[in-house]
C-alpha cells in the first residue's frame, strides 16, 4: 500500500513535469514551417520599418507582401508605384545582367539584406556574413551583407540564376521569381548563421525540392553523401567547421554539414557553358576531390593520409563561397584555417619571386604539401619540370590542368582525374 502510494507520487510528478513541458514547449509544437523560419519568427522575423508603423507584428506577411499593393490606400516605403508579382512591395529582380548592383531594387532581398551597406528596410538591420566568416570562423572576412557579397568581383550572377531556374525549375520558379529563391525558400529558410553546427537551421532548399529545406533531415548531410569520408576542414578560429567542433569527430562534424554537393549539383550537373562555366557539368563522382579514390599522399591535416580514412570527399563550400568573393571562381578568402588570395590566378602567389601564374598555390597549399619551390613536388616524374616551368616563359597556370572534370593535359589523356 505504501509502495503503491510512492508510485503514485512519482507518477504525479511525471505528469506535472510533462504538463510544464507542454506549457513551455507547446507553442513550438504548434508552430508551422513559416513561423519556424527566419522570416516568420515573431521575435527576429521580417519587420519592415514602414509597415511596423501600422503595428504589424514582427514576422507578419505584410512586411513583404502588400495584398492590395497598398495599405490603407497608400503605399508604405518603398513606394514603387505599381503592383508587383507575388504581391511583394517591389519587383523581385531588375533584370540587371551583371553587378555592381547599384540599387536595392535590383533584387527584392537587398532591401533588407544589406545591413549598413545600404539603407535596410528592416528594423533592426542585421548581418549576413559569408561562409568563411560564419562557418569558417574567419571573422576578418568583410562582406557583412548579402548585398555586399553579390557586389564583389566574383559572384553568382543573378540574371543567369534566374534564367537557368526559369528553364529548368519551372514547376515552382516563375518568370518573375527572385533569383535567390532558386536556392532559398523564404518561407522556410532558417538562421543557420546563429546555429552553424545545427543543420536543422539550414537556410537552403534544393531547386528540385523547393517546398522543403535541405540539410535538416536524414540523408541530407555530408556524412550521408560520403559516409565516413567527409572530413570537415579546420575552422579559422579553432576546431573544425562548421562550428569549431572536434576535428577527430569526423562523422559528427560531417553530420553538422548539409550535403552541399547534392545541393549544388542540382544546377551544376547541367552543362552550363552557356553561362560561362566551361567546366560543367561537374560530376563529383569522377573527381579526386570528390568520390574518386586519391592517388597521392601530399595532404595536410586534418586530412590524414596515415589515418583510417581511405579517401576524402570535399564539400563544395570547403573551397567556394556561395554568393560572391574577391577571389576568382568564388574561392573562399579562407580555406582550412588559412587565408587565400586568388584574385586572378596569375599573380605571384605566396612564393613571390617575380614569376607569375602561381597564385593558385594560395588555395591548393591549404590542403596539399610541397607546392612551393622548396617543396616536394607531388607530380609524377614522367611529366617533367618543363611541363609547368618552361624556360624563358611564364609558369603555367595550375588550372591549365587542374579543374573540375579534367583528366588530360593539353588534350592528352593523363590516365586519371587531375582534379
Amino acid at each position: 500500500m505504501i509502495q503503491d502510494s510512492g508510485f503514485r507520487i512519482q507518477d504525479f510528478s511525471l505528469i506535472i513535469s510533462l504538463s510544464f513541458g507542454l506549457l513551455i514547449y507547446g507553442h513550438m509544437a504548434m508552430a508551422g514551417p513559416y513561423t519556424d523560419s527566419a522570416h516568420g519568427n515573431s521575435t527576429y522575423g521580417v519587420n519592415r520599418t514602414a509597415t511596423a508603423g501600422f503595428v504589424y507584428a514582427t514576422g507578419n506577411c505584410a512586411h513583404c507582401h502588400e495584398q492590395h499593393a497598398s495599405i490603407g490606400g497608400s503605399e508604405p516605403e518603398p513606394a514603387s508605384g505599381n503592383a508587383s508579382p507575388f504581391c511583394l512591395f517591389a519587383d523581385n529582380f531588375s533584370g540587371a545582367t551583371s553587378n555592381p548592383y547599384n540599387n536595392q531594387s535590383d533584387d527584392f532581398c537587398f532591401y533588407c539584406h544589406c545591413y549598413t551597406d545600404s539603407v535596410s528596410l528592416q528594423t533592426p538591420s542585421f548581418t549576413n556574413y559569408d561562409y568563411s566568416h560564419t562557418f569558417g570562423g574567419y571573422t576578418s572576412s568583410t562582406p557583412a551583407s548579402i548585398y555586399a557579397a553579390f557586389n564583389q568581383t566574383f559572384y553568382h550572377n543573378l540574371y543567369d540564376i534566374q534564367d537557368f531556374a526559369k528553364i529548368n525549375f519551372s514547376s515552382f520558379f516563375k518568370s518573375d521569381s527572385n533569383p535567390c529563391v532558386a536556392c532559398h525558400n523564404p518561407h522556410l529558410a532558417k538562421r543557420n548563421k546563429e546555429y552553424p553546427g545545427a543543420p536543422g537551421y539550414t537556410a537552403i532548399s534544393k531547386p528540385t525540392a523547393h517546398a522543403e529545406l535541405w540539410g535538416d533531415s536524414a540523408g541530407e548531410t555530408m556524412n550521408d553523401y560520403a559516409p565516413s569520408f567527409y572530413q570537415a576542414p579546420y575552422r579559422y578560429s579553432g576546431g573544425c567547421e562548421p562550428d569549431g567542433g572536434t576535428c577527430s569527430d569526423l562523422t559528427g562534424q560531417a553530420q553538422k554539414t548539409p550535403d552541399y554537393v547534392t545541393f549544388c549539383q542540382d544546377c551544376h550537373s547541367y552543362n552550363m557553358t552557356g553561362y560561362g562555366l566551361s567546366h560543367t557539368p561537374i560530376n563529383w563522382n569522377m573527381d579526386k576531390h570528390g568520390k574518386t579514390a586519391r592517388t597521392g599522399t601530399n595532404i595536410k591535416l586534418p586530412y590524414d593520409v596515415n589515418g583510417t580514412v581511405s579517401n576524402y570527399v570535399l564539400s563544395c563550400l570547403d573551397c567556394h563561397e556561395p554568393h560572391g568573393a574577391l577571389n576568382i571562381f568564388l574561392i573562399r578568402p579562407e580555406v582550412n584555417n588559412g587565408e587565400v588570395t586568388v584574385l586572378t590566378g596569375t599573380g605571384e602567389g605566396p612564393c613571390g619571386g617575380g614569376r607569375i601564374n602561381k597564385e593558385w598555390v594560395y588555395l591548393c597549399e591549404r590542403c596539399h604539401e610541397g607546392l612551393r619551390a622548396d617543396g616536394n613536388h607531388p607530380h609524377p616524374t614522367h611529366l617533367g619540370c618543363l611541363t609547368c616551368h618552361p624556360h624563358g616563359a611564364d609558369y603555367r597556370l595550375c588550372t591549365d590542368c587542374h579543374y573540375h572534370g579534367s583528366n588530360s593535359i593539353d588534350g592528352n589523356p593523363y590516365g586519371e582525374p587531375l582534379f
Binding site: G32, A57, H68, G73, K174, H187
Partner: protein, 371 residues
C-alpha cells in the same frame, strides 16, 4: 348592404390569397416601421429623434438596425431585424457575417481603420476608397467616402443627398418578394431586391446574387466549421473587369460589388495567377500545391466550410454548404474582410495584424504551409 358584404368577402379572399407575399421580406405591423404624420405623443421609445423620414419611416437605417443586444438580429414586433450597429458599451461578441459598425462609430469603437464609417461626417481615415478606379464622381461620391452626402446626379436611384448605408445598399426593397422574414432563400434578381439590396446603379440593371441564411448566421463569429447555417456567395473566376459592367465586369457576386469602388483590386488590377500582383478575389482555390490542403481537404478535393473564411461558389445553391470544393470554389473579398466593421485592422475577419506571436493565422486556411 348585401353588396357590401360581398365586396368585403372578396377583399378578404384576396388578402388571404396573397398573404404569403405579405409575409415575405419584412413582416409584422406597418407601424413597426412607418408613421403617417411623425407626430406621436408621447414619442415612442426606439423611434428616431429626427424626421420625418422618407417613406414615412419612423427612423433612419441605422436607427432601425441598431440594438443594445449583441446578436445578429433582434425582434421588432415580430419581425426579425438584422443588427448592423450594436450600441452597447463594449464591443459585440456576436455580429453579422458582414460585421458591425460598432468598431467605427464615434463614441463606441471609434476606429475608422476597422470598417466602413457610414456615419455623417465621421470618416476621417481615408481620402477615397482604396483602389478607387472611378475617381471623377466628386469628393462626396460613394466611391470616395460613405460619410458625406452625395451632391451629384441621381444615377437613376435618386442618390442625391444620400450617404452611409445607402452608399452601398443603393435601392433598398424591404418589401421585395424574396423570401419570408426569418427564413432562408436565394436572392438573385432585381425583383427580389438583390442580395442584401446590393446593386449597381440603376442603369446597370445588375446586382449581387446570393443565398441569405435565415437567422443572419446567428452565433457568428463563433460558428463551428462544417455547418450549413451560413450565407452563400457567388463568384466568377472568368471575369475580367470591375464592378458589374466596367471593363467586362467582375461577375454578379459580392466581389463585383466591392470592386465598384475598389476597382483596382479587381480582376482588372490584380494581375493573373503565377504570379498574382495583388491578392486575388474571385479566383479558384487551386487543387494543387499547398492549396490542395486548404480547408483541411488534405488532397481529397473537399474541405470543410469555415464561416470565418467564407468562399464563393460558381453557382447557387451549392451542392453542400458544409463543404468547400477545392479546385472549384473561390476566394473572394469576403473571405478576408467584413464590410461593415470588425474588431481588426482593415476590416479583417481575424486578427491578422498581430500574427505571428499573437493574433490569428487564418491565412493558412489556404496558404497551408505559411503557418
Amino acid at each position: 348592404m348585401e353588396a357590401k358584404k360581398v365586396y368585403l368577402i372578396i377583399f378578404l379572399i384576396i388578402v388571404c390569397l396573397f398573404s404569403r407575399h405579405a409575409l415575405a421580406k419584412v413582416k409584422g405591423l406597418c407601424s413597426n416601421c412607418h408613421t403617417m404624420h411623425f407626430s406621436q405623443t408621447p414619442w415612442p421609445t426606439g423611434w428616431g429623434s429626427s424626421g420625418p423620414n422618407p417613406a414615412l419611416l419612423v427612423n433612419d437605417c441605422v436607427g432601425c438596425h441598431s440594438s443594445s443586444s449583441s446578436s445578429t438580429y433582434y425582434d421588432l414586433g415580430g419581425c426579425e431585424v438584422p443588427t448592423v450597429l450594436y450600441t452597447g458599451a463594449g464591443q459585440p461578441t456576436s455580429y453579422l457575417a458582414g460585421g458591425n459598425f460598432w468598431w467605427v462609430k464615434a463614441g463606441l469603437g471609434g476606429e475608422d481603420t476597422k470598417g466602413h464609417n457610414v456615419f455623417l461626417g465621421e470618416d476621417d481615415s481615408l481620402t477615397e476608397a482604396p483602389g478607387n478606379s472611378v475617381g471623377s464622381c466628386g469628393t462626396d461620391a460613394c466611391h470616395i467616402n460613405l460619410s458625406e452626402q452625395y451632391s451629384g446626379p441621381d444615377m437613376v436611384f435618386v442618390l442625391n443627398g444620400k450617404y452611409g448605408c445607402q452608399g452601398c445598399h443603393l435601392n433598398v426593397k424591404h418589401h421585395a418578394n424574396d423570401h419570408p422574414n426569418g427564413e432562408s432563400g436565394l436572392v438573385d434578381s432585381a425583383d427580389k431586391g438583390w442580395y442584401r439590396f446590393l446593386s449597381g446603379h440603376g442603369f446597370t440593371g445588375e446586382g449581387v446574387k446570393g443565398y441569405e441564411y435565415k437567422d443572419w448566421e446567428a452565433g457568428h463569429p463563433n460558428l463551428a466549421p462544417g455547418g450549413i447555417a451560413h450565407n452563400e456567395y457567388i463568384g466568377d473566376a472568368t471575369a475580367t473587369g470591375y464592378g458589374f459592367l466596367q471593363a467586362g465586369g467582375a461577375g454578379d457576386g459580392v466581389t463585383a460589388f466591392c470592386t465598384g469602388c475598389h476597382g483596382n483590386f479587381s480582376h482588372g488590377g490584380q494581375g493573373s495567377s503565377s504570379p498574382w500582383e495583388m491578392h486575388p478575389s474571385d479566383a479558384v482555390i487551386p487543387n494543387s500545391g499547398e492549396y490542395a490542403n486548404a480547408f483541411g481537404a488534405n488532397g481529397t478535393g473537399t474541405g470543410t466550410y469555415d464561416p470565418l473564411v467564407p468562399v464563393a461558389r460558381t453557382s447557387l445553391p451549392s451542392s453542400d454548404p458544409s463543404q468547400v470544393h477545392i479546385g472549384t470554389d473561390l476566394v473572394q473579398c469576403l473571405s478576408c474582410h467584413r464590410p461593415h466593421g470588425s474588431p481588426y485592422f482593415k476590416l479583417m475577419r481575424w486578427d491578422y495584424k498581430n500574427w505571428p506571436g499573437g493574433g490569428d493565422d487564418k491565412c493558412s486556411v489556404c496558404h497551408t504551409i505559411k503557418n
